[in-house]
C-alpha cells in the first residue's frame, strides 16, 4: 500500500433515520478518503453524525445510499458473513468502554480475533504480536484478567488486540473518554506512534480538542456534513473552531 492510496474511500454517503414525516438525515452526501499512515480525527458535537459516519465506514451499519470502498470492494453490499470476516481481518476497534472479555486473560484477549476466526497466527504473526505487546508495555501483564488492570492498561490491551490483526483500519471511538487526562494522553501517543511506525490508518472519533490535537488531519462534522477539513492543529485552535461551530448552529 503506497502513501497516495486511500485505505478507505466513502462516496455520496447518506444515512436517513425514520421514514415519512419523521425523517432525520444523520449524514448527507459525505465524500471522504482515509489514508494509511495518518491519524484522522473526526470531531463534532453530539448528534452531528460523527458516530454514524464511523459506523458506516466500519460496516457496522448500512447507509441509506452511497458506497464505502475497501480497495475495489463496496462493503455496503456485503452480507453479514463477509462483513464479519472483514471485521476479523481488516478492522480493529478501540472503544470508550474498554471492550475486553472479562473472563479472558490479557493474552487471550489479544489473540481473540484469531480464535474467533478459527485460525492460528503463524510464527511471523506471533512475532509481530509479541513486538506490539512489548511496545505497549504489556509483557508483564499477559496472564492478568481485565479487572486486574487500570483503565489505561485495559485500553492498551485493546490497542494491542487491534494492531495484532494488522488491520487496514483502526477505529477508535472516544478511546480516552473513561481515562484521566494524563493516561488519556499516553493512550493517544501510542495510537499516534502505531500510525506512524506501522503505516496504519487510524480514525479517531472524539469531541475532545486535546485528543484531536494528536491527529494529522481533523474533520469537523456538523448536521451530517463535513464542514472543516484541516491538517495537524493545536488544541486551542481546535477549541475555537468547536466553539465557532456551536455559535453558528
Amino acid at each position: 500500500m503506497s502513501d497516495d492510496t486511500a485505505a478507505v474511500r466513502a462516496r455520496n454517503l447518506r444515512k436517513v433515520y425514520g421514514t415519512g414525516g419523521t425523517e432525520v438525515a444523520a449524514l448527507r452526501e459525505v465524500d471522504l478518503d482515509i489514508e494509511a499512515g495518518r491519524l484522522t480525527a473526526i470531531m463534532g458535537p453530539s448528534g452531528s453524525g460523527k458516530s454514524t459516519l464511523m459506523h458506516l465506514l466500519a460496516g457496522l451499519d448500512r447507509p441509506t445510499s452511497g458506497a464505502v470502498w475497501y480497495d475495489d470492494v463496496d462493503i455496503t453490499g456485503l452480507d453479514d458473513r463477509r462483513l464479519t470476516a472483514l471485521r476479523r481481518t481488516d478492522i480493529g476497534f478501540v472503544f470508550q468502554a474498554f471492550n475486553l472479555v472479562p473472563t479472558l486473560t490479557v493474552l487471550e484477549n489479544i489473540l481473540l480475533p484469531f480464535e474467533l476466526g478459527g485460525t492460528r497466527p503463524d510464527a511471523g504473526r506471533l512475532r509481530w504480536i509479541d513486538e506490539r505487546i512489548a511496545e505497549l508495555g504489556l509483557t508483564a501483564l499477559l496472564r492478568r484478567r481485565p479487572h486486574q488492570l487500570s483503565g489505561g492498561q485495559q485500553q492498551r490491551v485493546a490497542i494491542a488486540r487491534a494492531l495484532g490483526i494488522r488491520p487496514r483500519m483502526i477505529f477508535a471511538d472516544e478511546p480516552t473518554g473513561n481515562l484521566d487526562s494524563r493516561t488519556g494522553q499516553e493512550v493517544l501517543s501510542m495510537l499516534e506512534a502505531a500510525t506512524r511506525e506501522h503505516h496504519q490508518a487510524v480514525v479517531l472519533v472524539t469531541h475532545d480538542p486535546a485528543a484531536a490535537a494528536h491527529a494529522d488531519r481533523v474533520l469537523f462534522i456538523s448536521d451530517g456534513a463535513i464542514v472543516h477539513d484541516v491538517g495537524r492543529t493545536g488544541a486551542s485552535t481546535l477549541s475555537e473552531m468547536v466553539l465557532d461551530l456551536a455559535g453558528h448552529r
Binding site: S51, H55, L60, D61, D80, R81, T84, A85, R87, R88, T89, F93, F95, Q96, A97, N99, V101, P102, T103, L104, L112, P113, E115, L116, G117, G118, R161, D173
Partner: protein
C-alpha cells in the same frame, strides 16, 4: 470456539443452574417411567396385578404420556432459560460479533454448553431416579402392595434419560439462543443498548401460535373421539394437546397481556403498584415470558389433578360393576397411580418455580438503571419492595388462573380419552374439578410470588440512586 464454551462453563457455571435443575428433573421423570415399567413387568411375572390388563395398559400409556409431557416442558423452560442467559450476555456477544465472530458459530458454542449441561443433568437425574425407584419399591414391598420379587432396576434402557436430556437441552439451547443471531456488533459500541431490550420483545409469532393452537385442538378432539373406543386414543390426544399447548406458548405474547391487565387492576392505585402494573404492560413479551413458565406448571398440576379426580370419580362406576375382590385390588392400583401422580406434580411445580425466579431476577437486573432513577426521584426502599412484589404477584396469579383453565380442559380431555371406552363407564362424563385444587393453586401462586421476589427484591433495593447517573 470450544475453548470459549468451556471457559464460559468454568468461569460462570451459575448461569446454567436453572437448566441443570430442569434437565435433572426431566431425567428423573424419564428414569421413573422406565423403572415403573420394569417393576410392573417383574411384578406380573410373580403374579401381581396380572388380572387387570386394562389398568396396566392404562399405566403404560400414562407413563409414555408423562415422558412426552416432561420432555416438552423441559424444552420450553430450558429454551426460556437460555433466552434469559443470552439476554444477560448480549453485551459480550456483541463484542465477539464486533471482533469478527459469526453469529452461527457463537450459537453452536451455546448449543455445546447445552449438550454439556444436559449430559451432567441426565446422569445426575438417572442416578436420582434409580435411587427414588429403589426406595419406592422397598416401601411398597414392605407395605405388602408389591410382592417380593427381584426387580432388575439397572437396565440398558437407562441410557435413554441421559440421551433425552442431552438432546432436549441441546435443542432447547439452540432454539433459546436464537437471539444471538440478532445481536448486532453495533451494540458493543454502546449504541443500541435500548434497542436490545426491544429485540427481546420480538420473536413473537402469534399467527404460528394460533395455527398450532387450532390444529392441536382438532387433533386433541380427534383423540378424545377415538378414546370412546380404546384408551390408545391417548397417543393421538397427547401430541394434539402438546401441539395446542405449544401454540398457546407461542401466542402467549398476545394472549397473556390482557389477563395481566385484568389481574393488575386488582391491586389498587398506589404509586408503586401503578409502576409495577405499567411495567408489566410496557414490556408485554417479557411479562408473558415470565408468566408462561408458571402457566406450564399450573396447567400440568391441574391437568393431572383433574384427570386423577375424574379417574377417582369414574373408578367408582368401574368398581360397582366389578367383583368385590377385583375392585379392592383396583383401588390399590388407583392409589398407586395417584401417588405417582403426586410425585410428578411436585416435579412440575419445581420446574415452574425455577423458571419464575429466573425471569423475575432478569426483569430486575435489566431495570437497574430505571430503578436507580426511581430511587433518585424519591421512591423509598419499601416502595421498591412493593413494586417488585406486586409485579411478581401479578405474574403468578395471572399465570395461575390461565393454567387452571387450560389444565381443567386438558385434564378432562385426558380422562375422557383414557376412560370413556371402559364399558362400566359407558361414554362421556363431566370433569370433576376439586375445589381444594383451585384454592391451593391460587394460594401457592401467592406464596411463590413472595418467595420468587425475595432475591430480586434484595437486588432491587440495593440499587443506589447513583446507578441512574452512570454512563457505563
Amino acid at each position: 470456539m470450544i475453548r470459549l464454551t468451556l471457559r464460559e462453563l468454568r468461569v460462570a457455571p451459575a448461569q446454567h443452574i436453572a437448566t441443570l435443575i430442569v434437565s435433572t428433573i426431566g431425567a428423573v421423570l424419564a428414569t421413573i417411567v422406565i423403572e415403573t415399567d420394569q417393576v410392573l413387568t417383574s411384578q406380573s411375572a410373580v403374579g401381581g396385578f396380572t388380572r387387570h390388563g386394562f389398568v396396566r395398559l392404562l399405566l403404560d400409556v400414562l407413563g409414555s404420556v408423562f415422558l412426552f409431557v416432561a420432555i416438552f416442558v423441559s424444552c420450553i423452560v430450558i429454551a426460556n432459560t437460555f433466552g434469559i442467559v443470552m439476554a444477560a450476555r448480549s453485551q459480550r456477544i456483541a463484542l465477539l460479533r464486533l471482533l469478527g465472530a459469526e453469529g452461527r458459530v457463537l450459537r453452536r458454542g451455546v448449543a455445546l454448553e447445552g449438550v454439556i449441561v444436559g449430559a451432567v443433568g441426565g446422569v445426575l437425574g438417572t442416578l436420582l431416579g434409580v435411587g427414588i425407584a429403589n426406595a419406592l419399591v422397598a416401601v411398597l414391598t414392605s407395605s405388602g402392595t408389591f410382592l417380593a420379587a427381584p426387580s432388575p432396576l439397572w437396565t440398558p434402557l437407562l441410557v435413554a434419560p441421559t440421551l433425552i436430556a442431552v438432546a432436549t437441552t441441546a435443542g432447547a439451547a439452540w432454539f433459546g439462543s436464537r437471539r444471538v443471531a440478532s445481536v448486532t456488533p453495533l451494540e458493543a459500541t454502546g449504541v443500541g443498548q435500548e434497542a436490545s431490550l426491544a429485540d427481546l420483545q420480538r420473536g413473537a409469532r402469534p399467527w404460528l401460535g394460533y395455527a398450532c393452537l387450532a390444529v392441536g385442538a382438532l387433533i386433541l378432539a380427534g383423540g378424545v373421539a377415538i378414546g370412546a373406543r380404546t384408551p390408545f386414543g391417548l397417543f393421538v390426544a397427547a401430541p394434539g394437546g402438546g401441539l395446542s399447548f405449544l401454540g398457546f406458548v407461542l401466542a402467549s405474547n398476545t394472549v397473556l397481556p390482557p389477563v395481566l391487565r385484568l389481574v393488575g387492576a386488582l391491586f389498587g392505585r398506589s404509586a408503586p403498584v401503578a409502576l409495577a402494573r405499567a411495567n408489566a404492560l410496557r414490556h408485554p413479551a417479557r411479562s408473558a415470558r415470565s408468566a408462561v413458565g408458571l402457566v406450564i406448571g399450573v396447567t400440568l398440576v391441574t391437568m393431572f389433578a383433574v384427570a386423577a379426580a375424574c379417574f377417582g370419580t369414574q373408578a367408582g362406576a368401574v368398581a360397582a360393576g366389578a367383583p368385590p375382590q377385583e375392585a379392592a385390588s383396583d383401588a390399590a392400583f388407583v392409589a398407586l397411580v395417584l401417588g405417582v401422580l403426586g410425585v410428578l406434580i411436585g416435579f412440575s411445580l419445581a420446574i415452574a418455580a425455577v423458571g419464575l425466579v429466573n425471569s423475575l431476577s432478569l426483569s430486575v437486573l435489566q431495570r437497574r438503571r430505571e430503578i436507580g432513577l426511581l430511587r433518585a426521584l424519591g421512591l423509598d426502599r419499601r416502595q421498591v419492595r412493593i413494586m417488585v412484589l406486586v409485579e411478581s404477584l401479578q405474574l403468578t396469579i395471572a399465570g395461575g388462573l390461565v393454567g387452571l383453565v387450560l389444565g381443567i380442559v386438558y385434564g378432562w380431555a385426558a380422562a375422557l380419552t383414557a376412560l370413556s371406552s371402559d364399558h362400566h363407564i359407558g361414554g362421556y362424563f363431566l370433569p370433576t374439578i376439586p375445589v381444594s385444587l383451585v384454592v391451593i393453586v391460587l394460594a401457592a401462586a401467592a406464596v411463590l410470588a413472595v418467595v420468587a421476589s425475595l432475591a430480586p427484591t434484595r437486588r432491587a433495593t440495593a440499587v443506589s440512586p447513583v446507578t441512574a447517573l452512570a454512563v457505563d
